[in-house]
Amino acid sequence: MTGIRLSGITKSFGDTSVLRGINLDIAPGEFLTLVGPSGCGKSTLLRIIAGLEEQTGGDVEIGGVRVNNLRASRRDLAMVFQSYALYPHLTIAENMQTPLKLRDLTFWERFPLIGRLWPNYAAKMAALNATVRETADTLEIGHLLGRKPGQLSGGQRQRAALGRAMVRKPVAFLMDEPLSNLDAALRVHMRSELADLHRSLQTTFIYVTHDQAEALTMSDRMAVMVEGNVLQLGTPEEIYRTPVDRCVAEFVGSPKINIIPGAADGNGRVSAYGTPLQQRIAGKARRIQVGIRPEHLMLAPEGSHNEGWPFRVTHKENLGSDFFLHGHLNGSNHRIIARLTPDEVAMVTIGSEITLCPAPGTPIAFDEGGRRIGFVKDRQ
């Protein structure tokens, strides 16, 4: 198990700065996701780790060794590409043999046609093929070994690409949005398969995606990247509950977190849109923003009107297991989304007014610049 460390990685193409100083310490064996919107530089960072692109500044260390000058083929990493990049003219078996052949056979043994004549050829190929078989069986594609990529379905190709990466038993797997070409149902299925694979292989996985749901469900830790910077590095739990700023809070979680204007009084007591909340913050009285996730909003229980927000419903979305209510807080244009259970929503119609209140402990406070303000314990 090997750790990877990135120190001060910068990358610019001409005048455009794509990565602005990335520092990451990836623990051995962990599943780390680089997540962010398109263009944030996550794929570039992955390619820099792989050695397919050269960084403008900074160092990449694998297992404590600086590898800046090592080319991709020597870094002992494996990569799964978004388009799988399987060799279309080779069978799946041959695809999976390729990295092993390039590593274990000499130039002449690899030469087409005459390579067979070399004395060690047969033995090496037998060992190679055994590895390929083994890996294929693990991924349950053993019956597809004789086919070409064009004859496989998307999910099967994905597994073949994984197989090709796995045969080399690399020190880390790099994955560039491997699930984005699959349909929704398959994606959900593959998420758990990848997670299982990670557990069984116990190798470092560095995973790039723009889908925050993937990041939340699969990672040990995730790094949220925006415009070439890592905004926050932490476990999914941390990112979800204590985002470092509004940007991260809005990126993670679907639908997006609701942001309502609020204030803190001289005592630090926080109120949002006029309704006091149970939390307190340090510092003087000022205006703040309060974030509350749709899934944390509930129908206020009878008789507690002063602890909730009056809410006019403009739109109802029925997802079967939940409802999303879209609407406005009374007297404002702020659009709020709340996720409620079917029971809660039974009597609600479009245009009706209900009162929403937050689940205890769930609101998040941000200052006017967007940075999260931590809550302090009540002294009283």
């Binding site: 050695g51 397919l52 692109e53 050269e54 000058n69 080319r71 991709a72």
Partner: protein
């Protein structure tokens, strides 16, 4: 390409090889143009640099015609190029080339465009059969039909005529195929709108399809013009005696017929004149040309 740290020698060596190749490729062009500027003596001794020292020389033919030597002095380049036009009616040949090439292309378009339109957008019984016929004819190389067509033309007495030069090329199955593929990408709605407006199918071809097909047509034009301007085999066969109908390559070849020393200069001048139009056009519109010539590739 891929983060490869190759040796610093790689790039210069590649350029060295490419430059060497370029020299071999350019050699005949250099010779042709340079020697079209030179006097017979310079040609014999291979002197004079690229442009030849334009020292006035004596035009022997002029002397033979009885003129005094002093009146027969001219610079080599003037001599070469004027001989080129005098020895044989080069201007006439160039005109023939233009007439023949233009006629061929025009007739090809007139025949191919309606056919391509019908094959791609109209429904009628036998359409698939016609398309199969087109595909079949694509297999036939043009040189294979040269002899039989010559015989047919001889039988009707049409050899030695513009008709003989043009007729065999009027049907361009390649053109039909190309335009059909292109027309298939034109949305049907556009055509239906034109029909609703009252256009006849015939005017749809020229008013609706043709304007949208300009890029493909341009590529085809280049392909056709280059092929027929440079063609030597068929004119050689079809024109059996009437010098007035010679196309430029035939003219040059006739020039070569009795080569003695003083003819090399004018001969190179003739070659330059024949080759230059297409080369210049190519240099001005390279991408279009390359597209056109390699069109045969993207079937």
């Amino acid at each position: 390409m891929t983060g490869g740290r190759s040796s610093p020698f790689a790039e210069p060596i590649k350029h060295a090889i490419l430059i060497l190749g370029a020299l071999v490729v350019i050699l005949p062009f250099y010779v042709m143009v340079s020697y079209s500027f030179k006097s017979p003596r310079e040609i014999e001794t291979n002197t004079g640099g690229f442009f030849g020292a334009q020292q006035e020389m004596v035009n022997e033919y002029c002397v033979k015609l009885g003129n005094p030597r002093e009146a027969c002095l001219e610079t080599p380049v003037a001599f070469n190029y004027s001989e080129a036009f005098k020895k044989a009616p080069l201007l006439r040949y160039l005109l023939n080339g233009v007439v023949v090439t233009a006629s061929i292309f025009l007739i090809q378009v007139i025949i191919a465009l309606p056919c391509a339109y019908a094959l791609s957008k109209l429904r009628f019984w036998g359409r698939d059969f016609v398309f199969a016929l087109v595909l079949f004819c694509l297999l036939i190389p043009v040189h294979a039909i040269a002899l039989p067509i010559y015989i047919m033309l001889a039988k009707v007495g049409l050899t030695n005529s513009y008709a003989a030069l043009v007729i065999p090329w009027t049907i361009s199955v390649f053109g039909i195929f190309l335009m059909r593929q292109f027309f298939m990408t034109v949305p049907d709605d556009l055509i239906d709108a034109a029909r609703m407006d009252g256009m006849t199918e015939f005017s749809i071809i020229w008013k609706v399809m043709l304007p949208t097909a300009i890029p493909a047509l341009l590529a085809f034009a280049i392909f056709s013009v280059v092929a027929h301007w440079n063609d030597y085999f068929w004119p050689r066969i079809a024109i059996t005696g009437n010098r007035d109908l010679y196309t430029p390559p035939l003219g040059l070849r006739e020039f070569k017929g009795g080569a003695d020393g003083s003819i090399w200069g004018p001969m190179m001048a003739t070659a330059t004149i024949i080759v230059t139009p297409l080369i210049v056009a190519f240099l001005l519109a390279q991408t279009r040309f390359i597209e056109g010539i390699t069109l045969t590739g993207m079937k």
